[in-house]
């Protein structure tokens, strides 16, 4: 079964540094999402992306964050000038155009030191 793939599985970064989290969505999917899950808490919506532009973003997704689909297969989340509170699991999800079912990757654990 096709999967959403996220790399790296764990990223350790110094506070203030930039980090890029990478995702390869399922190949025929059209909608892409990033979610965040702080340890022990709920999954929070960050941003949705369709047709090469942001469709919607939450209040968490401020100017520190950006997303990009640099080619036909990758979907990236960039966090500029990371803060301690950015430490979390970041999940990428994708879906096709027909059904609302979102498929999630296994996440990237981001640790800010």
């Amino acid at each position: 079964e096709p999967e959403v793939t996220q790399t790296p599985s764990h990223q350790v970064t110094q506070m203030g540094q930039e980090v890029i989290l990478r995702c390869v969505p399922i190949s025929n999917h059209l909608y892409f999402y990033w979610y965040r899950q702080i340890l022990g808490q709920k999954v929070e919506f960050l941003v949705s992306f369709y047709n090469n532009e942001i469709s919607e973003k939450s209040e968490i997704f401020d100017d520190q964050f950006s997303v990009e689909r640099p080619d036909g297969s990758n979907f990236t989340l960039k966090i500029r000038s990371t803060k301690l509170e950015d430490s979390a699991m970041y999940f990428c999800a994708s879906r096709d155009g027909g059904r609302p079912l979102q498929h999630f990757g296994d996440g990237t654990r981001l640790s800010i030191l």
């Binding site: 959403v4 996220q6 909608y31 999402y33 979610y35 808490q41 709920k42 999954v43 929070e44 919506f45 949705s48 369709y50 469709s55 919607e56 999940f91 999800a93 879906r95 609302p100 079912l101 979102q102 498929h103 999630f104 990757g105 296994d106 996440g107």
Partner: protein, 112 residues
């Protein structure tokens, strides 16, 4: 409002018992209500989902009950097994973007 409220926070059930997790939502625009199962170190995986035009949906041991007027929906796991031990999230979404809002999660432990 975008909130989805979930309870209980944790649940312990004996093997063979019924696990029940409840969720309530505020935004009447929500039109898709999935339940996700998450094991440690893994991403959420869809378990079962329902649309508001249906009051109940059953897939194997998993059933969603949906009460549109009360804006509540619940997950019932029949004949709970130790392998069902995981965190369960309810969620809701609407519109073509389908941006999901998750409940806080329920950590289910099924004791052998």
């Amino acid at each position: 409002q975008q909130q989805v409220k979930q309870s209980p926070q944790s649940l312990i059930v004996q093997k063979g018992g019924i696990s029940i997790i409840n969720c309530a939502y505020e935004n009447t625009a929500f039109d898709y209500f999935p339940w996700y199962q998450q094991f440690p170190g893994k991403g959420p995986a869809l378990l079962i989902a329902i649309r508001p035009d249906v009051s109940e949906k059953k897939e194997g041991r998993f059933t969603i009950s949906f009460n549109k007027s009360a804006k509540q929906f619940s997950l019932h796991i029949m004949d709970s097994q130790p392998g069902d031990s995981a965190t369960y999230f309810c969620a809701a979404s609407y519109g073509y973007n389908n941006d999901m809002r998750f409940g806080a999660g329920t950590r289910l432990t099924v004791k052998p």
